[in-house]
């Protein structure tokens, strides 16, 4: 037994499992309460209090919502493709959760320190596009199909600009590992060196997560409910959960890449995760703020923005960063 405990492989698996368990439960809890926070923030921005009946100031609302979703009837529409219809919601949630395995929450708290951590995040967000397309197509519903196609076209268009905007950060760090990127920002966060890349990343993050003002594919007035028209009960719940988990994941990545991750003054190493969560909260609030401030973009305006403005800008950012770094190294 003692040999088993000393075995480094067993220790790796055990501690990884502990970290995964903590992160998964923490993430699910944070996402449920983020949904409540969104509704309260939305309410306040619209001059009303938001949910405040269930529990003190509405704090038991997410639990009530989850219980309601479990007890709702759910069915697969006639002639829908059963297998894919069932897989699509799971496919929406899994990449969003797995991307959290590379995010450095504190100085020693990363599930794993991959040396290509950033690429894992980009790969997972590409897999998330499948969920939307398959969900829309398998529903056997014209609106769902159109919504799914438009949403996936939007997501892949903005994924390009997102990937390219992270290249400036990579040039400054010299490594794809997220832990290295946070360590490289011990003195100054990269937002000071890459302001344009930060702006591009936030705009593309809004489009990647299908949030306003880029939420035409799931807009209630235009396309019924887009690709999740035919979904109900927990399958819809998983899509919804996946969308909000994506928001938190992308904001965590933005915090790590541009705002310095867990770096911050005055706190000892064991409490540095508080800085991480504070920065994350600011970015998530920004997402909610933008949702209730700007009108929705029309689809061709959305695609124009992605292809004709953000893509050339992010390429220009790469070249300018390269030139500036070369000039500063060699003056």
């Amino acid at each position: 037994m003692k040999d088993l405990l000393q075995n480094p492989d067993f220790q790796l698996v055990f501690w990884s499992f502990v970290k995964i368990f903590v992160i998964l439960n923490g993430l699910l809890g944070v996402v449920s309460y983020m949904i409540l926070a969104e509704r309260k923030v939305a309410g306040r921005m619209q001059g009303r209090p938001g949910p405040n009946r269930v529990g003190p100031a509405g704090t038991l609302q997410p639990i009530a919502d989850v219980i309601k979703l479990f007890f709702k009837e759910e069915f697969i529409p006639a002639a829908a493709n059963k297998v894919i219809f069932n897989i699509a919601p799971a496919l929406a949630v899994i990449p969003a959760l797995v991307s959290f395995s590379i995010v450095p929450i504190g100085p020693n708290f990363t599930v794993t320190d991959l040396n290509v951590g950033l690429l894992l995040f980009l790969a997972m967000s590409s897999i998330g596009v499948y969920a939307v397309t398959l969900g829309g197509w398998s529903s056997n519903n014209k609106y769902a199909l159109l919504g799914g196609l438009r949403s996936s076209a939007q997501m892949i268009s903005y994924e390009l600009a997102m990937g390219l905007s992270t290249i400036g950060v990579l040039m400054l760090t010299g490594s794809l590992s997220m832990v290295e990127i946070v360590k490289a920002q011990q003195n100054l966060p990269f937002i000071l060196f890459q302001p344009l890349a930060f702006v591009i990343f936030m705009i593309t993050a809004l489009a990647e997560t299908n949030r306003a003002p880029f939420d035409l594919p799931e807009a209630e007035a235009e396309l019924v409910a887009g690709f999740h028209t035919e979904y109900s009960s927990m399958k819809f719940g998983l899509f919804f959960l996946g969308e909000f988990t994506n928001v938190i994941t992308i904001c965590s990545i933005a915090t790590t890449l541009f705002l310095g991750g867990w770096n911050g003054p005055w706190l000892p190493d064991s409490l540095k995760f508080i800085w991480f969560f504070a920065k994350l909260a600011v970015l998530v609030f920004f997402f909610m703020w933008v949702r209730w401030t700007f009108p929705r973009l029309r689809y061709d305006q959305l695609m124009n923005l992605g292809w004709k403005i953000l893509l050339p800008l992010s390429l220009a950012n790469v070249l300018v960063t390269g030139l500036a770094m070369y000039w500063l190294q060699n003056r």
Partner: protein
């Protein structure tokens, strides 16, 4: 390769979570089916035609262009990570690469492949 074991574990745990959630909801939900509920939703009217229609080729174009520019981004990643060691030579090389792809991009704009909902 040892670093990927936690990622694999996380994938398995996430699949387990999604499976348990869906399975639990199948157990706890009421089942009262009728033909009207099972029909595809079309704003309350009878559905017209099949949902497996053809769709516009511009979606295919977007996907194809995404592949092309994503390959470009993939080539940019190793260059960016080793940028400091490559010096001016590397910068000019990559500048030429981006320029060639940019010429292709300008051709796309001129041919109006990215017009009207891309």
């Amino acid at each position: 390769m040892r670093e990927y074991i936690p990622v694999l574990m996380f994938v398995i745990v996430a699949i387990g979570f999604a499976g348990v959630t869906l399975g639990l909801s199948q157990i706890t939900m009421p089942i009262r089916r009728n033909a009207r509920k099972m029909a595809p939703y079309e704003c309350g009217v009878e559905p017209v035609g099949s949902a497996r229609n053809r769709f516009h080729v511009k979606f295919y174009l977007v996907a194809l262009l995404f592949i092309l520019f994503d390959i470009e981004a993939v080539f940019l990643y190793p260059w960016a990570v080793t940028f400091r060691q490559l010096g001016l030579y590397g910068l000019i090389e990559m500048g030429l690469f981006i320029l060639i792809l940019f010429i292709g991009y300008v051709y796309l704009l001129g041919k109006r492949a990215l017009e009207w909902e891309s």
